[in-house]
């Protein structure tokens, strides 16, 4: 079975890719916070941030179609969640929400596709993110595909034993029992995994192997991003 990966282009070798995970985490977080802080009455700032994102995209060598495709795949969820929020803002509020969401997603897709997920996890860990959280993200990344496959097989098995369409209520019933089964299976898998971890002398600490070093170009990149954000809010 084929999967699409969240870090599909992460093993390229562009100037953005060779940066260390921590500097990228910090820089992209700062840019996203910057986007969120742009006041509604200064619409021109959005263009400047779009421009910055475009430069980063160009540098990253990731196909534009991929970035845009990914963004518009996730976008509906965010816009849906935010529909009620800008009630007072009317159409303008909704428009700004939309622009903010697109910008943030561009940046996130860029971050996850210029940094291998493992490196991201290491970066988070070294920035002081709690071990247990990072570990669980790692498991999520590892087992998402196993779970997806399990779900796909269950769906195939269901389709094999069903002729035509079931009524909506029955459909829901089947779906809920599938979700339940999946939950129980993952629970059992978690227990087996824990046994496997204990068997390899796990004692509560997840070991980390030596990661990429923080270098001068990371510092330069961070400084550049900081300067950009400061200037963007300073100059009118």
């Amino acid at each position: 079975m084929r999967h699409s990966f969240i870090d599909r282009y992460a093993s390229l070798d562009s100037p953005l890719h060779v940066l260390e995970a921590r500097s990228k985490l910090l820089a992209f977080t700062a840019l996203i916070v910057g986007v969120l802080c742009i006041p509604a009455e200064r619409g021109s700032l959005f263009f400047i941030y779009f421009f910055a994102a475009a430069i980063l995209m160009g540098v990253s060598q990731i196909p534009l179609t991929y970035i845009v495709g990914r963004t518009f795949l996730i976008l509906p969820f965010i816009v849906l969640a935010g529909l009620a929020a800008p009630w007072k803002g009317g159409y303008l509020g909704l428009g700004i929400l939309f622009i903010r969401a697109v910008l943030c997603l561009f940046l996130l897709v860029l971050l996850t596709n210029t940094t291998r997920f493992v490196e991201l996890l290491r970066g988070l860990r070294r920035l002081g993110c709690p071990q247990i959280l990072v570990m669980n993200l790692g498991f999520l990344y590892r087992y998402l595909f196993v779970l997806t496959e399990e779900a796909m097989r269950m769906k195939q098995a269901r389709d094999c034993r069903r002729v035509g369409r079931a009524r909506f209520r029955e459909e829901l019933k089947i779906l809920s029992s599938m979700i339940g089964t999946l939950l129980i299976r993952s629970f059992e898998r978690a227990e087996r995994m824990h046994s496997a971890m204990l068997s390899r002398a796990y004692a509560g600490d997840f070991p980390v192997v030596s990661p990429r070093k923080f270098s001068l170009r990371d510092a330069a990149f961070l400084a550049g991003v900081a300067l950009f954000i400061t200037l963007s809010f300073w100059i009118r």
């Binding site: 493992v118 046994s195 068997s199 004692a203 600490d205 070991p207």
Partner: protein, 247 residues
């Protein structure tokens, strides 16, 4: 005095839901021996393996290299006893192969500088290329995953190696490859399996389990050729013994 790797005396185990899994198991395995545990599904083979390194309690009955499980340092026991699980997806939980194989030695406090060398050796010993280290486990084929799992166990340099169905679901080429790797190992082997041809190839001694008890313990060929015994416990005489073509 004989050098026993594993001594199990009157081991009982009941699962929390009340299912009796093991009843009065007695088993001695000498250092360097290769022992197969055969028996139908649900016989208690996997449960027995999980007792070898103290994952399941009730372990006062189990002694590893003369050390009783409840008195010894469990970490020390787990360094000595490696377990290969049936589903590689349970065993490979790290984002990359390298981290998975390095997991055990790092937990045992092996110096970071020594890790790459140890990982490389384990991967080679398992019949893999060192280049596989940066791949993600979910990109690998089942045969490769099984071998990475084996590397993740071998890297801890265990003296005793317990394997749960090492050849299940493998295609003939991968199965053959794995058998070659396994038969080249120096460790004491305890293999729980349905693959009786594997047993004939690798293990001179076989233990037959059914319903949580040991029914027979002896020389592999004689036992597997005993049609009545095999039939009684839901197994069958391997083809190669039936036709008598095997030298």
């Amino acid at each position: 005095m004989t050098d026993y790797a594993v001594r199990i005396t009157r081991l009982n185990y009941t699962y929390p839901d009340g299912t009796k899994a093991l009843e009065g198991i007695d088993l001695d395995v000498r250092s360097g021996e290769q022992v197969a545990i055969v028996g139908p599904s649900g016989a208690g083979k996997s449960t027995l393996l999980l007792h070898l390194n103290g994952i399941l309690p009730g372990s006062a009955a189990v002694r590893i290299k003369g050390q009783s499980m409840d008195s010894a340092d469990l970490r020390q026991i787990r360094k000595q006893v490696g377990l290969l699980f049936q589903d590689p997806n349970d065993q490979l939980f790290c984002p990359t192969v390298f981290e998975d194989v390095a997991f055990g030695p790092l937990n045992l406090g092996v110096p970071a500088a020594e890790i790459p060398r140890r990982v490389e050796k384990a991967l080679l010993d398992s019949g893999l290329d060192y280049a596989i280290r940066s791949r993600s486990s979910h990109h690998l084929s089942l045969g490769e995953r099984r071998r990475v799992s084996l590397a993740a166990v071998l890297v801890m340099e265990p003296e005793i190696l317990g394997m749960d169905e090492p050849t299940s679901n493998l295609d003939p080429r991968n199965r053959r490859h794995l058998i070659e790797v396994v038969s080249g190992l120096k460790a004491t082997l305890i293999i729980a399996t349905h693959d009786l041809e594997l047993v004939l190839d690798v293990c001179p001694r076989t233990v037959l389990m059914d319903h949580g008890k040991i029914w027979a313990d002896g020389e592999t060929r004689a036992m597997l050729a005993d049609a009545r015994l095999m039939d009684l416990h839901g197994l069958e005489v391997p083809l190669s013994l039936k036709s008598g073509t095997r030298p």
